[in-house]
């Protein structure tokens, strides 16, 4: 089965629907037209740019190029993790903790999947490596961002509770046990929802895409199951690492709660 290719006209027609939405908004006086238009244009430009880059990388298909792309993806994801937090940890530590937790887990999981499960040849085959890393990274980023946000926000609000334990001689571990497990849970909630909803409430995007591209549904399903496991493992381990590193950073060597290491709330 061949892919029905899309022409620019098809896309213009689709954008007409959004344009119609914008017109209705103007008529109703709901000043959202500018945001809608800007974000739509931004989406088109970003995706076109990625398409061009991916075409080039797929043609080149050398390891250094793929490593470069992976590093850019991880750097941007690390920035996003910090940007999504209300009271992120200040300075390079804040960026570094998110980035370390994310890159370690997402990279290991992606490489394991490529070498042991999908067994592409070469293992860094960009057609597989980059979309796989992207999907895993996107989910891990969300999970780690939520986990760290929960950690820093809750620590900020529970200063009295945490310090009450410290003054009674409790260790940092004891004083943050609940905080850490709650933050872990916060990071995993979207993944748990995704697992529960998969196939019943929502058809996962990748599976839909493969089916549209002509794969047999059962093949698409197998890939989706693989991805789901990979995402869950990467998000879970990533949140775990981020929460442990982040919780440690909230205290100094003398086990003092250092909320001055958090950015002031925005």
């Amino acid at each position: 089965m061949d892919l029905y290719s899309l022409t620019p006209v098809d896309l213009i027609v689709a954008s007409g629907l959004v344009l119609a939405l914008g017109v209705v908004q103007i008529l109703l006086g709901l000043g959202l037209f500018r945001t809608l238009a800007l974000n739509s244009v931004r989406m088109v430009l970003q995706l076109l740019l990625v398409g061009v880059i991916l075409e080039a990388v797929f043609d080149a298909a050398t390891l250094p190029w793929i490593v470069l792309i992976a590093m850019v993806m991880m750097g941007l994801a690390g920035y996003e993790v910090v940007a999504r937090q209300k009271r992120a940890i200040r300075g390079w530590h804040g960026f570094g903790i998110g980035l370390a937790a994310m890159s370690v887990t997402a990279l290991i999981v992606t490489v394991l999947a490529l070498t042991l499960m999908i067994e592409t040849d070469p293992w860094y085959e960009p057609q597989y490596a980059i979309p796989l890393l992207g999907m895993i990274l996107g989910n891990t980023m969300t999970g780690i961002g939520l986990a760290l946000n929960n950690l820093t926000q809750t620590a900020w609000q529970s200063r009295a509770e945490i310090e009450a334990r410290l003054v009674l001689g409790h260790s940092v571990r004891e004083a943050t046990a609940e905080l850490r497990s709650d933050s872990m849970r916060a990071g995993l909630i979207p993944t748990l929802n995704m697992l529960a909803a998969a196939g019943v409430i929502s058809l996962p995007g990748m599976m839909t895409g493969q089916i549209l591209a002509g794969s047999a549904p059962i093949e698409a399903v197998k890939y989706q199951i693989l991805i789901m496991f990979l995402i869950t493992a990467a998000t879970g381990f990533g949140s775990l690492i981020a929460v442990q590193l982040g919780a440690r950073r909230l205290f100094d060597a003398r086990d003092r709660l250092r909320l001055d290491r958090l950015r002031s709330g925005r």
């Binding site: 009295a160 310090e163 009450a164 009674l168 001689g169 003092r256």
Partner: protein, 200 residues
């Protein structure tokens, strides 16, 4: 000396030095916002500071923070409660005598923290700290939320504890009569630093 403080200072803590012998109480007075509570936090090693603080000759920084805080126990003005019931906040049940002396109802032991009055919280926070049998107590207005009878009971219990265990206390108080101790030494906190008054 049981507790020695030399050139303590830090962010929001004006410079201060003093020393306490076993059984001794140092009342602390000064305008609000001058850094009295911040000084207690530094003494408990809860916030960054400079200077030398020794317990029985052992420097604060040479001891694990958890050990230090168990022996130099801070009772902050606002007590924090992290679990649901009162009992979960105590390592073991405090003595019946203390409980009754502070006129706490026996049923409070099992009750949820959210139902405690501010006075009950304050008394329980003191008992929680005493349960560690600290050598030095850092008290931040321990009777602020108590009526006169309860405040007297609290002050009496604390002074008895200090005498019986030959412990020492740094005690922020706005009521000069509250701490009826033998010598008349007290620490005045000013923005420029701590000033010791009375016999030295």
């Amino acid at each position: 000396m049981l507790f020695e403080v030399k050139d303590l200072c830090g962010p929001n803590v004006p410079p201060v030095s003093f020393a306490l012998a076993a059984g001794e109480v140092l009342p602390v007075r000064g305008e609000s916002g001058v850094g009295k509570s911040q000084m207690l936090r530094a003494l408990a090693d809860l916030s960054p500071h400079e200077g030398e603080i020794k317990l029985e000759g052992v420097e604060q920084q040479s001891m694990p923070a958890t050990d230090w805080r168990r022996q130099v126990a801070l009772v902050p003005a606002e007590s924090g409660w992290w679990a649901d019931t009162v009992a979960e906040h105590f390592p073991s049940r405090p003595s019946e005598a203390w409980w009754e002396r502070l006129r706490l109802r026996a049923a409070l032991w099992e009750s949820p923290v959210e139902r405690l009055s501010s006075g009950e919280r304050q008394r329980l926070a003191v008992l929680r700290a005493l349960a560690l049998e600290p050598r030095v107590l850092l008290l931040d207005e321990p009777t602020a939320n108590l009526d006169r009878d309860n405040a007297e009971a609290m002050a009496g219990l604390l002074l008895d504890y200090l005498r019986d265990r030959s412990a020492a206390a740094v005690w922020i108080s706005h009521d000069p009569r509250e701490i009826a101790v033998h010598d008349d030494r007290w620490l005045e906190m000013t923005a420029e630093g701590g000033v010791l008054h009375g016999s030295v």
